[in-house]
Structures are given as C-alpha cells and as structure tokens.
C-alpha cells in the first residue's frame, strides 16, 4: 500500500514534504487535503482520488510567498525537517482564522514537533 507521502516524494519528486517519525506523531509530513492539514504518512494513496493535495511547494509558489518570507526573516527555522509541516499547518490556520490569538496558534501547532529552534517563538512569527 503506497502512502501519499511516498508518492509525493518518490513518485513526483516533491521532496519539500518531509518524513519524520512515519507514524503520525511528529507532523513533519503535513500536507493539505482539500484545505485540511493532514499527515501524509498515514494516508493511503487510494483515499486521495478526486481530492486536492497541496504541499509546501504549492503554497510557496502561490499566495503564501510573503508569509514564508516572514517565516525566514524572523528565524522560524533551524534544521528545517519540521518546517514544511509547520508552514502548512500555520498557513491553514491563517486561511480559516486570519488573526489567531496566541493560544489559538499554539493549539493549531500542537501536533508539529520541533527539536531545534524552540517552537516557543513560532506564534509570534
């Protein structure tokens, strides 16, 4: 059974999406499926028929460009393994709630683990 994550990375060469734990704990492989942040390591490909998949490459090429530049400018990245998942999750939050409170931002990002830069600053960024 092919996972969506494998098809994105190996089949389509879209390596922006990262594999962290591969079992749905870390959030690194988050993509948008019909606009909803979803862990691509847990999604079998056959569940994706007719659905819209957006990866970090997709949103970077489109409306999220300014958002990503702010992310970089404020240092919201270190090793980068968790970053695509955090970007996708934060972008999805901003789509449904353009002005989230700090608590709402923390709640939204609770499933994205980060081990280097300290995710404490992310909601400010």
């Amino acid at each position: 059974m092919e996972r969506l994550l494998d098809v994105l990375r190996e089949g389509l060469g879209l390596t922006g999406t990262k594999e962290g734990c591969g079992e749905g704990e870390c959030g690194a492989c988050t993509v948008l499926i019909d606009g909803e942040p979803t862990l691509s390591c847990l999604v079998p490909l056959f569940q994706c028929e007719g659905r819209r998949i957006e990866t970090v490459e997709g949103i970077a090429a489109g409306p999220a460009r300014d958002f990503l530049e702010r992310f970089v400018a404020t240092g919201g990245v270190q090793c980068g393994a968790c970053t695509p998942g955090i970007v996708i999750t934060a972008w999805a939050l901003l789509q449904r709630n353009p002005a989230p409170s700090r608590e709402e931002a923390r709640e939204a990002l609770a499933g994205n683990l980060c081990r280097c830069t300290g995710i404490c600053g992310e909601p400010d960024r």
Partner: protein, 338 residues
C-alpha cells in the same frame, strides 16, 4: 584535534573553503561564510564552501560539542585572510587592503578583488593554504584518560525557570524561562538565540518529561509516541539574553554555544519544583509519580509500595536519605502535599 581547514584559489578568482563541518541545522552554513567574508574583506559571491564530502575535504574533526564556530570558524578566518594576503602581496602598491570585495588603496577603490585573484591564478597557478588548530600551550588534554581541558575557553550561562505545580496531581508546567548566555560574540544573533531557545526547551523536557527507559538493554520507549518531548503547548515563553564580551581566541570573539543551552535549564526547573512543593527533587524528570514517591506522603508509599528518594512514609520533614537535607517546608505545603 588538529582540525585542518583549507582555503583554495579557484580559476574564476573565487576562494573555496574546505572543512568537514556539516550543517545539520545548527547554522554553520550561514555562519562560516559570514566569518570567511569578514576575515577576508570579501564580497557576497567571492567565497564558496565545498560540500563536506570526506573524499574532498580535510578531516577538520567531527561536527560535535561546541567546537564548530569557535575552533573551525577561527581556522577559516586565519586561512582565508592568509590566502587573501598571498594574492595581494605581488600587487604593486602601498597600503592596499580589501573591503567588501574591492581592493582599496590610499586613493580609493582600485579593482574588484576577484579580478586580481583570477589574474593571480592565470600567472602563478593554483594556490592553497591549510591551517591546523594549535591549542595554547597551557591547554592539555589526555586522550587516554579523557582528562584535562578540552577547550581553551567556555561560554557561560545562567537560567531562571518558573513553574506551576498542580497540587492535586503534582504535574509541573514551566510558565517562563530566561536564559542568559555569555557567548563571546554572536556571529549570527538570530541563529545563536535559536540555538539557545531550542536547547532550553530541550532542557525543560529533560527536567519534566523525557526519560529513556531500558529493559534488558532494549529501549522501552523508542518512538515519539512513548518518548514524550515538549510540544508548543508545553513551551513557555523563553527570553534569551546574549552577553557579548569578545574572546580573543575565537573568530571575531565568538565562543562555542552548542551544548551550553542544555546545561542549566533542568537544574533550574528541578529547583523551581522543589521550591513550589517542598519536595526535594533529586532525580529528573520530575514526573508526578516521582514527586509523589519523594514526598513524605503516605499515599506515595502506599501506592507504590516503597519509599521514594525523599524518605517515603517516614512522615513530614523527614530528611532525604541521599543528601541528608531536610524537606523544605513550602509556603503552601498543606495544599500541595497530597
């Protein structure tokens, strides 16, 4: 560790720096070019760094501990500056220097450094300089006993952690952390603060959540579902303050800051928990289970069938068996202890 670093003049007039250092996120891919450009007076595109492929680069030691910026960065500064001088020397003219990629004389800019460097390659051929780390004479380290001074200097830090402890469950939560680090000089302040934020959060996880459990030599919690690390919801605001007092042995005064952020956060957290509960914290992570056992509460002993590190069911204010310290009476002791 001799840590050779090489700088090489390329045919296109750019300087290529070869080290074995790997950027796994700590930021040397940003910091090394900064050091090389500043040391050589070079422009944005005048320096390139070789990929750290061990087939190509010298063995400048492992990318570990707190040595990359301080030790290898310093060698980069020396090597690049000397290569620049070797290129500059044959050029006729007094008082030449290099600034922002331009050769500058008394009357102002003369020509781009890269043009002169390309000419040097055409006339004199390849040029390469290698420098090795030479520890100061007083710094000795015995490789067989691992004793002595591993580094010529250290960065220093102080941590303040504030916690809230639930009096019913003894679950502790960090609400604020402050890390003050004397780093010599921050080459890239954003990355330097990021390293300290991340290390501090890891230290808070170590103090309250993270425990490697082994049985018969095997990990019992070998995955993120069972080995719990802090999420954003466990992370307090972390205030980082950099103190900069340039150290003459480091590149532009920088000391190593890799490991330092992990050192102080856990002891500070343990003391904050002790201060809040009156329960002496002699082991981390200070989980509710361990705190209950360590408390003088009979509940802990009854639930767990044994005394904890704080003397178990011997009653309030029993002295710790390990340290002989009396339990400290916290202001809210009656509310806190179950």
């Amino acid at each position: 560790m001799k840590s050779p670093v090489t700088a090489r003049l390329r045919a296109d007039g750019r300087i290529e720096v070869l080290t074995a250092m790997t950027d796994m996120g700590q930021g040397c891919a940003a910091v090394f070019p900064q050091i090389a450009r500043a040391a050589g007076g070079l422009g944005e595109d005048d320096v390139v760094f070789a990929e750290p492929d061990t087939g190509d680069v010298p063995d400048s030691g492992p990318t570990v501990a707190s040595r990359t910026t301080m030790i290898v960065g310093n060698l980069i500064a020396r090597t690049v500056a000397e290569l620049r001088d070797s290129i500059l020397d044959p050029i006729v003219g007094e008082g030449l220097s290099v600034s922002d990629g331009w050769i500058v004389g008394p009357a102002g800019p003369v020509e781009p450094f890269r043009d002169a460097a390309r000419r040097h390659f055409e006339t004199a051929g390849p040029l390469e300089i290698t420098h090795r780390h030479e520890p100061p004479e007083w710094q000795t380290f015995d490789e067989s006993t691992y004793q002595g001074a591993a580094y010529p200097t250290y960065a220093w830090g102080a941590d303040v952690v504030e916690v809230e402890v639930d009096p019913d469950t003894l679950a502790a939560r960090p609400v604020a952390a402050t890390a003050v680090c004397e780093v010599g000089r921050a080459i890239h302040p954003t990355l330097c603060k990021g390293q300290i934020e991340g290390g501090t959060l890891q230290a808070l996880g170590w103090a309250l959540l993270e425990e490697v459990k082994l049985q018969d030599g095997r990990y019992l919690n070998d995955r993120l579902a069972t080995y719990i690390i802090p999420t954003i919801k466990d992370s307090p605001r972390i205030d980082v303050h950099l103190l900069e007092r340039a150290w003459k042995g480091g590149p532009f005064g920088a000391k190593g800051v890799g490991e330092l952020p992990m050192d102080g956060g856990a002891p500070a957290t343990a003391q904050a928990v002790e201060n809040a509960t009156g329960i002496p914290v002699e082991e981390i992570p200070a989980t509710p289970e361990k705190l209950l056992l360590a408390s003088s509460s009979p509940v802990g002993a009854a639930l767990c069938g044994r005394a904890g590190w704080g003397g178990g069911a011997n009653g309030k204010n029993a002295a710790s068996e390990k340290t002989g310290r009396p339990h400290r009476a916290a202001p809210t002791e009656n509310e806190v202890l179950p």
